[in-house]
Symmetry: C2
Subunit: 332 residues, 2 copies
């Protein structure tokens, strides 16, 4: 049974695997599966995954045969959290814990084992983003969930355990500390100015232009001023919107273009680096609709993050964001 535990000092929640704990000798490197025969995400191997939640672009097929699909959503076979657990809070002396309740899904981004988002046609990327949005809308109906995280680990060094292009979704009975922290900062700015901090940043960059990497009708892509990591990149909607799942369908093509273009620029400039991206969105039922502004954070995995950074929350970034922006801007 997985378990959620709260650090009494920092109020940060973590997920602990108490069911199949990794012991001292279990931290062994296993290479990623590169063969489509053994890859559970490749077409033809659908029986190797838990039962499908939803598929997009499915073609009809004879009875007993899985029809071809473009995007496929399945439960994670090795979930960090389980929907069957009880999200009841319990005290353990000075500590707090919750049963490992949650949903952990995998979005298989396409049938092709080799094609990443930057290689796919735009309408396919739109289908992936639609899947992200649909799953958020669906999971929000369960009142026990407090927040939903969508993220992608690309490359082994960035934490991917399977090579076939995929992203993940975790729905949680709590709000992670980073999200709370962002909301607090944005609320503070809003209380003081009655404006959205993210909108203010976008307005400043539209004039200043030093940190801007790419823009289209609906989205802006920039290097954040206080980037923690070299070539950290954010994609933000121009129009104020707190929740990713409130994005109108009409903006999905522009987001697909912004995401594909940005990932292609990073791939080209940095020689196909491992990376992570994640969607920061308003927690479910969050009241901060005026001050929070959803966005995607992309973090190429270029430096060894030392315990110093992890222990202090204090980052040393060797590449100023204006340098990163000027490099990424030029990639075509």
């Amino acid at each position: 049974m997985p378990q959620l535990r709260k650090d009494p000092i920092t109020s940060r929640w973590i997920i602990v695997n108490v069911e199949n704990p990794k012991a001292a000798n279990d931290f062994i490197h296993e290479p990623l599966s590169r063969s489509s025969k053994t890859c559970p995400f490749c077409p033809g191997n659908e029986h190797m995954t838990p039962p499908e939640i939803v598929a997009y672009g499915r073609k009809p097929a004879p009875k007993g045969v899985v029809g071809p699909w473009q995007v496929r959503v399945i439960p994670n076979k090795f979930p960090a959290l389980r929907i069957e657990e009880n999200p009841e809070k319990k005290a353990l002396g000075v500590y707090d814990k919750i049963g490992g309740f949650g949903a952990h899904e995998v979005i298989i981004e396409g049938p092709d084992h080799e094609k990443e988002i930057s290689d796919l046609p735009l309408d396919h990327v739109e289908m992936i983003l639609t899947a992200y949005r649909d799953r958020c809308v669906d999971l929000k109906k369960d009142p026990r969930f407090k927040s939903i995280l969508i993220f992608k680990n690309y490359g082994e060094a960035a934490g991917a355990s399977l090579e076939h292009p995929h992203s993940q979704l975790i729905a949680l009975p709590i709000v992670p500390s980073r999200v709370t922290g962002e909301m607090k900062g944005a609320s503070r700015h809003h209380e003081y100015t009655e404006r959205c901090l993210f909108c203010d940043i976008l307005a400043q960059e539209a004039t200043d232009n030093k940190l801007l990497i790419y823009e289209n009708h609906d989205f802006m892509v920039l290097s954040p001023f206080a980037s923690r990591f070299p070539f950290e990149t954010w994609i933000l909607p121009r129009r104020h919107e707190a929740g990713f799942d409130s994005m109108p369908a009409t903006e999905i093509p522009a987001l697909a273009l912004a995401l594909k273009t940005t990932l292609a620029k990073i791939k080209k400039a940095l020689n196909n680096p491992p990376y992570n991206f994640m969607i920061h969105t308003l927690p479910i039922g969050g009241k901060e609709t005026e001050s929070f502004h959803w966005h995607i954070e992309i973090i190429p995995n270029l430096t060894q993050v030392a315990g110093f950074e992890l222990g202090t929350g204090f980052y040393v970034n060797p590449t100023p964001p204006e340098v990163a922006a000027s490099i990424l801007k030029l990639q075509e």
Copy 2:
């Protein structure tokens, strides 16, 4: 000139290298120096480092010759921050920045290129800890500093750029977010209970005993209940004390024993893993002397920390701390 920048959303400060920025092609792996001929920290190569700040255990030597030493403190040759910079705060529209003012020192832990803390005699480890403490006491005299971080990166994967055993000290004109976060949590508990949260944890573990790894007269070593990382380990003084530099000299031998023993246990159980440790101590001039409690956090580098964790502040730990504690406890 290095620069400190504040993220307007999370209020987190970062250091940006605007002087020698790393561009796209600069993230190339350079192996650590393994030869004592080229190692700037080995005896005989003292001229390769910036001028010494202080040395411990120095023996007399003829004029013009550097006498043998046991522990040596020098300024970092490639500092993240500089003492000559102006710590003036400036606004840049919606952003904040400070000149890269600070001190960045290196504590060379011994003359032997191969001997780590776990291999050194106890009185030598005491000398290292005394150097840590003395540097804190000295740097606190400069009223421009707000906090001091002492940390060690061991192994390339943990961010070490030189093999010769060394630790680092950074004195900052701001307080890092992680330290602020810990102080807030501890203050909240103190307001409510009028007790120190860390003392409460120690009292609970002294009875419960499930997370305890090692203890001696003055220190307890444990796996924190909500460990972010597998085999994360904390060393805490039994006696309430907010600041590391307020530790009486009489407790240094017990800390040396606790640190050496703990690092030896980690080395044995996990096959000499890369690790980081850092000392969490009350910021300079901090008023939270009753609620904060200094401690050392040791984080073995066993898993790939994905952007997911970095982006959310939400960690998935594959090894429950009670399992880690039971394994580490048994190592001799």
